[in-house]
Symmetry: C2
Subunit: 456 residues, 2 copies
């Protein structure tokens, strides 16, 4: 991780990758400066060197001495006769993911943060204004105050978005975070780790690999305003714009039908999952520095030591979940009656509160083998069909080098509108309406929807 790290090369690599979506020299200077100002060193350590973390003697869960923060526990899933178990992160508290927005000269700007996370592939990513667990902001870690938190915790602006949304149901037990957008008119001091970017600029940066972090993407997905005004003028762009603005009756299915379809899928799904002690999971082994599945395909539980800071360096150790490869999340997108429809999947994930949420057409964790009936439509897409394609990072505070390839694949009007029972064509307008409530779209679908917002 820290071995052979070349700071200037990374800065150069990142900034050169930005070329097509460049928010300007001012931003580049700030980004390079933040890279140089921060010290960040992540090293793998054996579990025995974890400080303030221990495996509980009774049950073997990996817990923090405060009893808070998060824990690595066991999860057992039963589906009829089938039974499997795995490690899972249990973090039973609601954090805040908030973007502060403000108009400058009539243009909406977002206050974005340059933030380092121990699991990031590239140290620094662009994050929401506030990204804080409840343990963070109630100061269990005795760290610094969370900057700008007061705008989200007190009524200091107009709340544009406020909704509880789930996170990875394969890796988290019942986790949800509060996604917020608050608009202010007052002057906001701009701390050196923060930078105002237009919403347009932030969305354009979604075209760059591993630049906008997961927490920013989920908040961006919920922003129902300033959506694309197709500028390319081709049929796809026109259908995309209509997908945001159509009359309700132009959607293939009314919203009520879509809700029924999702409930029907929940009813069919007989997955029953529960937490069990970590020591009771089967098919997994604990070594000195990792917990692995016996097939060596799934995530590993590892431990890292982190040194980070600017003027003052802090040190901590923590566990991380480390997947072994890159996941895939793709929407098939098809114009139906001139309105672009996205094909969503009702997908069970054992850690989701209600087990089933709407997911991308194809969602493959790096260890999964069965991506469903549309994998080949994604893998064999011609270049002209690929409307969005980037590799993005998942939460670097809990996952080590977790990356997912996000794609939007256009299919033509000859593509079957008839789909298997776990799939449904929906418009962006319908998804935005559902995003006012939690537990409809999973984190991968929301990440990908944020990318759809960037398609102008």
């Amino acid at each position: 991780m820290s071995a052979g790290y070349d700071l200037e090369a990374e800065i150069q690599f990142t900034l050169s990758a930005l070329a097509g979506d460049d928010p300007g020299a001012d931003f580049q200077d700030w980004w390079a400066e933040r890279h140089r100002a921060g010290y960040f060193n992540v090293t793998r350590i054996p579990f025995a060197e974890l400080d303030k973390w221990r495996f509980e003697p009774d049950g073997g869960n990996l817990v923090h001495e405060s009893g808070r923060f998060f824990a690595v526990e066991g999860l057992r899933v039963r589906n009829g006769e089938a039974l499997w178990s795995r490690p899972i992160i249990n973090q039973p508290e609601i954090g805040v993911l908030g973007i502060l927005v403000k108009e400058f000269d009539g243009v909406l700007h977002c206050l974005m943060q340059a933030k380092m996370e121990p699991g990031n592939v590239n140290t620094l990513q662009l994050s929401p204004t506030v990204q804080a667990t409840r343990s963070n902001y109630t100061r269990i870690h005795r760290g610094a105050n969370t900057r700008y938190l007061e705008y989200f915790r007190e009524s200091r602006g107009q709340v544009l978005v406020d909704v509880l949304q789930s996170e990875q149901g394969a890796w988290f037990w019942h986790k949800s975070n509060r996604n917020m957008v608050v608009k202010v008119t007052e002057d906001v001091p701009e701390h050196e780790d923060f930078h105002w970017l237009t919403l347009h600029q932030v969305r354009a940066l979604l075209g760059t690999d591993n630049f906008i972090n997961m927490d920013a993407r989920t908040v961006l997905s919920c922003m129902p305003f300033a959506h694309p005004r197709g500028t390319r003028g081709d049929a796809f762009s026109e259908a995309l714009v209509r997908s945001y603005e159509h009359d309700p009756e132009l959607a293939l299915h009314p919203l009520e039908r879509i809700l029924s379809w999702l409930i029907e899928a929940k009813t069919r799904c007989e997955w029953n999952s529960r937490l069990i002690p970590l020591s009771q999971i089967e098919g997994w082994s604990k070594g000195e520095d990792e917990i692995t599945d016996d097939e060596h395909r799934d995530v590993r539980v590892i431990a890292v030591s982190v040194e980070a800071g600017t003027r003052e360096v802090t040190r901590w150790t923590q566990p991380l979940l480390a997947p072994r490869g890159v996941g895939l999340a793709a929407f098939l997108a098809r114009p139906i009656g001139g309105v672009l429809h996205l094909l969503v999947q009702a997908r069970p994930e054992p850690g989701l509160l209600d087990v089933v949420e709407m997911a991308p057409t194809v969602q493959l964790m790096s260890h999964e083998r069965d991506g469903g009936p549309y994998v080949n439509d994604v893998l064999a897409a011609r270049p002209g069909q690929v409307r969005y394609d980037a590799v993005q990072s998942e939460e670097g505070g809990r996952f080590h080098h977790a990356q997912t390839r996000y794609q939007v694949i256009e299919v033509g009007e000859d593509f079957p509108a008839e789909v298997p029972e776990n799939y449904c064509w929906v418009t962006v307008r319908q998804l935005m309406s559902l995003l006012r409530h939690g537990q409809y779209l999973n984190i991968e679908a929301r990440s990908l929807l944020a990318c759809v917002h960037s398609l102008w």
Copy 2:
């Protein structure tokens, strides 16, 4: 339970109680006939006499031999330093509660069922057309087919309501049922256990104690049509009608603010609950025929033997949860700007999926001591303030003689509109909008809302 049971006296008692809300002689004859036709005998038995049920040797959960149906397990709740545990019903499958509706001569009618449940105080209650667990309708119990299920499982009509709603969060672990209303135009055969009643008649029957069962009430609460047209013409009725029909800006709080308020309450609540083996709950003891808390205040787990049938008698045994007294659920209702507002509470219940849902202003389980700041406003209400008052039964298939007193108490414009942080004034229109989605209103709030619908 069966001791000293006098069938004719019960029929007479029920029908005389109907006097004020009488749907007619035809209905009375049918109801009395259903009473006489059915044979139903419920007897308490020791746990050792349970057939097909057993306490698991490992962990002590009370389970059915099929591994399905439901189980009585342990629940442990942690709230900061506080820790408590109790028995809870785990039934990880989604059932259907459905009312079939049809217009006769332009008037909406509901196909209601006369249904016996082992825990009912009065044997027979008026139930939805379909009330079936998934185990029921996939025939785990090898009983008869569920009548009329095809209207809800196949597309045989217009789906007016379809939403997953929670049930008692104190007694059920993560239970939700599919609440449905399906409208048909075709001829529907009327089986002898079923009777068409107008929606007006069904709602009027909510004025009778223990007549409309819990499953019917929750479905009725979600029916957003044919709402009251205040006929009394007093200020309360006028404010009530406006509560259904007002312009959005006439509500005290916009809907988005109410959603934020609920999320804020969820964020504050640090209850963390999980299933544990029943043998590990503390402060409870298992005897030969009941599991009780050491203070003898809370529900007991008991076992019953049931003989039931019409022509053919079937027998089964099962556990039930038996509360020791009558619960209380009351809305304070206050006109604000001429629009009636109900005071809802953000209330944690350990078995709810997301722990906190909106509850009545006052909700007291029979064993609870602390009903919050508004208990006295309910208990000391003058008769003229009491707009609704009836004792209703909770689910007789899982609970033994579980009753709740439901009340709507009118307070005047001098009543403080400022409320503590866990409370919020909302209109009926706003609640109906939230009821299109699950996990906003708990079962007691929905039951009570169904009663509000009856206030014409």
